[in-house]
């Protein structure tokens, strides 16, 4: 690789890290909670921390660990994690136009390291700088994605060992709904998302006694349908584009 090119890439790499920096502290409490909940659910250190490497997706890890603690059937645990992660297919579709031409190893790195934060920062940057080439786009993405991965892993490990020392009577499993509240409440600023949240929550409560976590899947479908309907009926507010 030419030296000048490597130097330019390094600049994009550092720039990617720089814009990610303010978002890293926000991942720390979630990572720690994922670790705490894993240890309280009885997972050994390898599984409790290893899932941050294998899955590397906070909300799915929290929800599936909670289901493991509740002794849900394994298929329910898997499907719940995957439903929460369906949004990554949407991110993948948005990133494809920018990064599909990378060699396979790099494409897979991009896919593995994809988070809400790395997706959002990169897609905004690519739109703002149409002159960016493929190496620059990759470097910018990786510059932010790798620190996020490292912080997530370190925070989960710290949480796991901390959680081991805290008795179950402290109700640390309550951190799971609290984390989700902290994520979701600030993001439901528009009417369509608020409707999706209220509908999803209400259906989940009504269908609570259904087996196999069916209530969750019904709630997801109903919430999405309700949000979509509100957006179609009242397009003036909360329109994404």
């Amino acid at each position: 690789m030419m030296d000048s090119m490597a130097k330019a890439e390094r600049k994009d790499w550092i720039e990617g890290a720089r814009v990610m920096l303010p978002l890293l502290p926000g991942a720390v409490p979630f990572g720690m909670i994922a670790g705490v909940v894993a240890s309280n659910a009885g997972l050994d250190a390898l599984a409790g921390i290893g899932q941050s490497i294998v899955v590397f997706a906070g909300a799915a890890q929290l929800a599936s660990t909670q289901l493991i603690a509740d002794a849900a059937p394994v298929l329910v645990v898997i499907l719940t994690g995957l439903v929460i992660n369906l949004r990554f297919a949407m991110y993948s579709a948005a990133m494809a136009g920018h990064l599909s031409a990378l060699p396979r190893g790099r494409r897979w790195l991009v896919a593995y390291l994809m988070t809400d934060q790395s997706y959002a920062l990169s897609i905004l940057r690519y739109a703002a700088r149409p002159e960016m080439g493929l190496p620059a786009k990759f470097a910018f993405y990786m510059g932010g994605a790798i620190p996020m991965w490292a912080v997530w892993l370190a925070a989960t490990a710290a949480g796991y060992f901390l959680g081991n020392r805290i008795p179950a009577s402290w109700s640390l499993d309550f951190f799971v709904p609290l984390s989700f509240l902290a994520l979701i409440v600030p993001s439901i600023a528009d009417r369509a998302n608020a409707t999706a949240a209220l509908t999803g929550g209400a259906v989940a409560v009504i269908a609570w006694s259904l087996p196999f976590n069916l209530g969750l899947f019904l709630a997801a479908l109903a919430g999405i349908a309700a949000g979509y309907a509100v957006e179609r009926l009242f397009p003036a507010q909360g329109e994404p584009k």
Binding site: V55, A89, A93, L183, G201, V203
Partner: protein, 108 residues
């Protein structure tokens, strides 16, 4: 859940999540999600997360749902939601929720 089953779940979610993340990037931009699907997926986080939150804060001590004000989780969840809405701060939300829960548990 035994060790093997836990790992089965972790690996299956890991592979499935990787497949979702890689999906359209691997398709080389030849296929795109239809616009209605993209718009519908936008509501997935709000719908799913709230479907996890509500039953979790309504869960009573006897296994059923408890809508009463004697349910510490319900009061604590309400306090946390209020703080999340007002401050948009993750740490403040966690502190308000756990603080209220512990205070209620100490009182009841």
């Amino acid at each position: 859940m035994d060790k093997q089953t836990v790992w089965l779940a972790i690996i299956a979610i890991g592979i499935g999540t990787f497949a979702l993340r890689a999906s359209f990037i691997e398709l080389g931009g030849r296929f795109a999600l239809p616009a209605p699907v993209t718009r519908a997926l936008r509501f997935l986080p709000a719908a799913v997360l709230s479907a996890i939150i509500l039953p979790a804060i309504l869960r009573g001590t006897e296994g059923g749902l408890n809508f009463g004000i004697d349910n510490p989780r319900l009061i604590a969840g309400f306090a946390a939601a209020l703080v999340a809405w007002k401050t948009k701060s993750v740490l403040a939300t966690l502190a308000a929720g756990m603080g209220t829960l512990w205070a209620m548990q100490a009182l009841i």
